[in-house]
Amino acid sequence: MSPRLHLARLSGAASLQDAGRHGFLRFGLSASGPMDPVAFAAANLLVGNGPDAAVIEFGLAAATLRVEGGPVRLAFAGAVGGLSLDGEPIAAHRSFLLREGAELTVARPRDGVFAVLAASGGFPVPRVMGSRSLHQRAALGGCDGRPLREGDRLPLGPLPPSGEAERCLDPVALERGEPIRVVLGPQDDHFPPDGLATFLGRDFTVSNRADRMGYQLDGPEIAHGAQGFNIVSDATVAGSVQVPGSGRPIVLLADRQTTGGYPKIATVISADLRRIAQRRPGETVRFEAVDLAAATRLARARGAHLAGLAARLRSVESEAERLMAANLAGEAVDALGPGEAGEE
């Protein structure tokens, strides 16, 4: 029997996502793909996958997992709650083996929204239009065109080579307090100065109407200009901030509608899409305008960061040694006592 990952218990959202279904925007189909591309890249690297392998993306979810016909090498990244393997806590952002008979539990994250679980060899469900990503509104991809649910048994790739060292990476901060950077436009000229001032100067809150299509924000109403709140429908992008008649902005994300008839006051820069995606309902969002040159520099810095992730993989043994060395050093300093340590 080929190995399967059994989702024995699940509460919260979960779907299969790969790097996305690209090339169909002109036909009305958004790309889907990971809400946190950095977590997606990190999890796949940790288990030795290529950059397009399908993963499970959990959204504010708790789960219990087992493997049948295993073992399988797994790694979590992103907004991960407590993990335990047969009752023993285990760190995220490192790979580990899940063996047949063992039980892995994932707690709902206390911080952030999306956790990515990669499995060595990916999840080889059939590709639909070139991708395994679920697009829920179109009932495409994923597991039979639907989100994952309790009881699912997902096909796994070939068994991992034995004797390989487990690997780890430093987690990337979720940067909760930071403003979300935007480039104004394409329809910022539909808003009067006080509308723009509200958008850039006030605090908004992620509402409960937040999913992979977009996050509706609560907060002050953004005033529209004389042209009102209807435009001839034009294209949206990931990060488009549209302002419907209610004056409350909606940030469009991975599974968004590809066109829309509300003016778009600004666009979240690509480097900050994961940061808005990782904000939970009830959390504060502030926007800060940057120019296109700055957005481009930040996109390139993000690209360089992703390209450099592989070089930052460490084996877990060497990581343990490093931690031990750091702890010993820390104790040595403590042993000197506060007064003596301060003499230098």
Binding site: A138, Q257, G303
Partner: protein, 244 residues
């Protein structure tokens, strides 16, 4: 009105929009499709995808390959050149069963305009439409060319679900729907044609720029056409650029 010069609008660091007009206009639509064709031919480095709409073309790009500001300026310059008439596009003849359970708003639309239902069908099936935009949901084909005598603002409250194949009108636009979805438009009829089948190649039947004619079809033919469509037949008739 079509602008004297197209506008370049920022959409963050991964896209920009070239806008030709503020409203829905045939000239702007033609220039959108001309620029789309020109960009497909030039294959500029960094361009990932283009999305034509009624009055604008959005260009999605990879900011690691191209500088978004420079690429935007280059495409804006091309927008001035993209005036050559396009070769005649494909023409689809799409069967539609109007009224009754297939088009529950036909009578109300007729009453609003002081027309008979038959006159609404005649006016809706007379024009040759252009697929101006595919968007909102996968395969939703927005058509330009609606008879001005049928223009009617949207329903005050949307219906929570309308079926696949719904043929509807809203404002000055006409639509062929591909998958079930909520809609505030007026439902005139339904086509058995499947415009989006994920496992078919190509998955999408209609392309931006295609021409469309609706063929009024008797309700008695629905079952046979729907069965044929289910079995994988196109059901719509493709007339290659012959009638240009």
């Amino acid at each position: 009105m079509t602008y004297d010069a197209p506008r370049l609008l920022a959409c963050g660091d991964t896209a920009f929009t070239i806008e030709f007009a503020a409203g829905i206009e045939a000239e702007a639509g033609a220039r959108v499709m001309a620029l789309d064709a020109l960009l497909a031919e030039r294959a500029l480095p960094g361009v990932l995808e283009t999305v034509p709409t009624y009055r604008s073309l959005t260009v999605h790009l990879d900011p690691l390959v191209a500088d978004p500001a420079e690429l935007g300026r280059a495409v804006l310059a091309l927008a001035g050149e993209a005036l050559a008439p396009l070769p005649a596009a494909r023409l689809w003849r799409i069967p539609v069963v109007y009224g009754g359970a297939f088009g529950i708003d036909l009578e109300a639309v007729a009453a609003h305009h002081g027309l008979t239902p038959e006159a609404v069908i005649a006016r809706h099936s007379a024009p040759e439409y252009r697929v101006a935009m595919i968007g909102f949901l996968p395969g939703y084909a927005y058509l330009a060319g609606l008879d001005p005598g049928l223009v009617l603002s949207r329903r005050p409250s949307p219906r929570p679900v309308t079926p696949a194949g719904t043929v509807s009108i809203g404002g000055a636009q006409a639509l062929v729907a591909s998958i079930p979805a909520p809609s505030g438009w007026h439902l005139l009829g339904r086509t058995p044609v499947k415009t989006f089948v994920p496992k078919r190649d190509p998955a999408f039947l209609l392309r931006p720029g295609d021409r469309v004619r609706f063929v009024p079809t008797a309700p008695e033919r629905w079952d046979a056409l729907a069965a044929a469509a289910e079995a994988g037949e196109t059901v719509a008739e493709l007339c290659e650029a012959a009638e240009a």
